[in-house]
């Protein structure tokens, strides 16, 4: 007779094996990292450019420059570029974060030959037509108007402003007039500064034949897109004096809550341990915040916490949307959970679960060539090497409740937290 109350025996994960890219340096000095992995005939290539400068007078410039890259070159109109990319079944995406701008190409291996020259053209000969700029400004301003009605959007932006300061790239809350201030001249200037061979890192993953790699090398290895070296401008946080901020919204059914603080970056020796502590608190479905505030109290559909490590700053935060009438109660519970991490060691059983869960997620993350590329990006731009992952796995397996409690006392003191509520409290 089957005993259904008895859990089957299970195995733990001993090691995580990460495939590492091969590095090449193109003739013009651009580093190219290749992860030739997988059987399906497809590739992903990313061109990543670092942001060195930021101007308070034109906070949107890098993002707009990136978003408008595909809107025309000296040879092709925006519509022709779109047609070409779609006809070859490719996906060409642009993305801009605080620290970097990138262009990402997904395509079938067989179409790489025809699509790569277009990418080069976009990186060296984009024109930012005036008419396209007007369309961009209008559509983005309208999207911003919609976002300004969303509590979670407002909470995120307000929180960044409090934490990093309105006068920094990380904290600047973009407003409609910032779109008006964009000019074609400024866009072209930013373009020439950012999209250069010497500011570029190329990461290619997927089924990459030698011929494909050679093609990337010849197409992007030329010296015709070298640019001037741009000095790096530091973005030091200038946190607000006011620790709590309420953005009142009369008709809110729910309140968006964001609580957090400046934190340590990936290079700090405590960082990997903090990842474990974060998982316990709010990093998975069974976390303390989820168990208490969703599964016990039913205050929210979801709550979570995370640590984000960026180029010039890092932060730890908790975010959720809760029923407006239980907002104060939810905040109280959040602080209670953090306090408990400081005051009581994590029970062995719970910690064992978190260890196994985190290792399982790490293993599950390694699904295909693209995931290995993501793992590489996770260390490369932070100036780390693969020993980071060895250290992470080792820490997950061995960190003790006492060490975690010490981390909580060092890094999660209540008086260092900022708190933003959008809605009612």
């Amino acid at each position: 007779m089957l005993n259904r109350t008895q859990a089957p025996s299970f195995n733990t994960i001993d090691a995580i094996h990460l495939l590492q890219p091969e590095k090449q340096v193109l003739p013009n000095g651009t580093p190219l990292f290749v992860l030739n992995v997988g059987k399906e005939p497809l590739v992903k290539i990313e061109w990543i450019f670092e942001h060195k400068q930021w101007s308070q007078a034109a906070p949107l410039l890098t993002a707009a420059c990136n978003a408008m890259l595909l809107n025309g070159t000296t040879k092709h109109s925006s519509a022709e570029i779109a047609d070409f990319v779609d006809f070859y079944g490719a996906f060409l995406q642009t993305e801009s974060s605080f620290d970097q701008s990138s262009v990402t190409l997904y395509c079938l291996s067989k179409n790489l030959t025809v699509v790569l020259p277009l990418v080069k053209e976009i990186l060296v000969a984009a024109t930012f037509p005036e008419k396209e700029l007007i369309t961009y400004q209008k559509t983005q301003q309208q999207k911003l108007q919609v976002n300004m009605q969303k509590n979670d959007f407002l909470a995120r932006k307000t929180f960044n402003e409090q934490l990093f300061g309105a006068d920094t790239a990380y904290g600047c809350f973009v407003q409609s007039q910032h779109y008006d201030a964009l000019t074609r001249t400024d866009l072209l200037k930013a373009y020439q500064q950012i999209y250069t061979a010497n500011n570029c890192t190329i990461i290619a993953s997927g089924l990459l034949t030698d011929d494909a790699v050679k093609l990337v090398t010849t197409t992007f290895g030329e010296t015709d897109w070298l640019g001037e070296e741009v000095p790096l401008m530091l973005q030091l946080p200038q946190s607000a004096n006011e620790k709590c901020k309420l953005v009142h919204r009369e008709d809110a059914l729910q309140s968006a809550i964001r609580i957090g603080k400046l934190s340590i970056d990936k290079k700090h020796p405590d960082y990997v341990g903090m990842r474990v502590l974060n998982t316990v608190l709010g990093g998975y479905f069974g976390s303390r915040l989820m168990s208490n505030i969703r599964e016990e109290k039913g205050y929210t559909y979801g709550i979570g916490s995370n640590i984000l490590s960026m180029q010039h700053a890092s932060y730890f935060y908790i975010s959720t949307e809760v029923g407006a009438e239980v907002c104060a109660a939810a905040i109280k519970e959040i602080y209670k959970e953090i306090k408990q991490l400081r005051e009581e060691p994590i029970p062995a059983q719970e910690l064992e679960l978190v260890r196994n869960y985190m290792l399982g997620m790490l293993l599950g993350d390694l699904e295909n060539a693209f995931s290995y590329a993501d793992k590489f990006k996770g260390i490369y731009f932070s100036g780390l090497d693969y020993t980071y992952y060895d250290n992470l796995v080792h820490t997950i397996k061995t960190i003790t409740p006492k060490q975690l409690q010490e981390l909580a006392n060092t890094h999660l003191q209540e008086n260092s937290f900022f708190e933003v509520v959008v809605g009612k409290n």
Binding site: K39, D86, K138, Q149, N356, G364
Partner: protein
């Protein structure tokens, strides 16, 4: 191409296995043939509420999530108008834990009053977060009853109103479970670093003894053909006017499905698509515009939706959409444009195959539609569509009397 083997247990449970040795992981996907369309009109939102309750402990195992996380796994689920789908991802050498957990909750839930109480609250907060406290969040709560007068697609999976969820009782929950959560009403797919024979043994061991139960026979009121245009105007606290036009189309198993779906690709897939290039980029009438097919199993909808640029009137916006739809009726899609859409579908299909969970879900869904192997012939059906097919369907679908239009106006 997704290879698989299939068997059916004596209690009616269909078991499909896809072996993929390139990953150390395994996926267990279990699809129950029940969705919001199977709800009573006065107890809507129930299939989805029930999905939440499936995590509240089963007859022999007090907690579902915890033992799974303990072996390095995670899980989630979703409910649509047609189906409820649960999945687990975990290291393949711990697959038996998934069998243990999933089979026990098919055997019977714990039916705890406390779990029901909490999940009622959680779902109410979900209702607020996604549908009420968001700009345009209630569009589908209005568009569905406008487009459907008889068929249960007239309500959203979250339910018609909060009170239906608030009033759910434990008796309702039990009845729903034993009516719908039976082996013969489910499709189980295991994929990843697994072997067919071993999976089969585990399936027999854990699921084989679950009683078959009574087979649920679906008999839903069918939607009569719409014969007159319908419109509704909403005023809300949003910054921009928006328009939503919903047209009735065929069901998922209809021969015309792929051509119908492809019409929305011509209209709105990618930056080169007609609506994006012409109505947004060239004419600046919209700041956002899209067309898509609902993909429902019963007769579905094509929806064209857009947010109007400032200064553009509702009449102007609607006229521009109508002009594009009429063009599909009067002129055949050019050879290169058709080829473009097919090329995109082809590469999308290749990219979809590098994701294990995606493969498992696809097998389960197509098995529900009649045959898991349909997952492998789907692309060919798209590639076989002709310009004449597209034109014929556009002529049939894009007529005023087949359309329900929602004007969503800024206060």
């Amino acid at each position: 191409m997704i290879d698989f083997k299939k068997t059916t247990l004596s209690n009616g449970l269909r078991v499909l296995v896809h072996e993929d040795a390139t990953t150390p992981m395994a996926v267990m996907n279990i699809l129950y043939d029940v969705g919001a369309r199977d709800e009573q009109a006065d107890k809507t939102g129930f299939a989805h509420l029930f999905e939440h309750l499936m995590f509240g402990g089963s007859v022999n195992i007090p907690s579902y999530d915890e033992p799974l996380q303990r072996v390095g796994g995670e899980n989630n689920a979703f409910t649509s108008n047609d189906i409820t789908n649960y999945y687990i991802q975990l290291p393949a050498n711990n697959l038996e834990t998934a069998f243990w957990l999933e089979s026990d909750r098919m055997l019977s839930l714990a039916f705890s009053e406390q779990s029901l109480e909490v999940q009622r609250n959680v779902v109410c907060e979900e209702f607020k977060q996604r549908y009420l406290n968001q700009p345009y969040g209630d569009v589908w709560l209005n568009l569905r009853p406008l487009a459907y007068k008889k068929h249960p697609y007239q309500w959203a999976t979250i339910g018609k109103e909060l009170s239906h969820i608030e009033n759910a009782t434990l008796e309702d929950v039990k009845a729903f479970f034993f009516k719908h959560y039976r082996p013969s009403n489910a499709v189980l797919v295991i994929a990843g670093a697994v072997k067919y024979e071993e999976v089969l043994q585990l399936a027999e061991k854990w699921f084989g003894t679950i009683p078959a139960g009574e087979k649920y026979v679906r008999s839903l009121p069918q939607e009569p053909k719409q014969i007159a245009a319908r419109t509704q105007t909403i005023k809300a606290n949003v910054p921009l006017d928006a328009i939503y036009k919903a047209y009735h189309v065929c069901n998922r198993n209809d021969k015309r499905y792929h051509a119908t779906d492809m019409l929305t690709d011509i209209l709105s897939r990618g930056y080169s698509s007609r609506l994006y290039q012409r109505l947004l980029k060239e004419q600046n009438l919209f700041s956002d515009i899209n067309a898509y097919m609902s993909g429902d199993i019963d007769n579905g909808l094509i929806v064209v939706e857009g947010k109007l640029s400032k200064g553009v009137s509702m009449e102007q916006a609607e006229q521009a959409i109508n002009t594009e739809l009429q063009l599909l009726q009067t002129e055949q899609v050019a050879v290169t444009e058709l080829q473009k859409v097919k090329n995109k579908l082809e590469s999308t299909a290749v990219f979809a195959e590098i994701n294990l969970l995606n493969k498992a879900m696809n097998l389960a869904y197509f098995e529900l539609l009649g045959d898991a192997n349909l997952a492998n012939t789907e692309l060919d059906k798209y590639l076989a569509v002709t310009a004449a097919d597209l034109q014929a369907i556009a002529q049939e679908v894009f007529v005023p009397e087949n359309c329900s239009t929602l004007y969503y106006c800024a206060n």
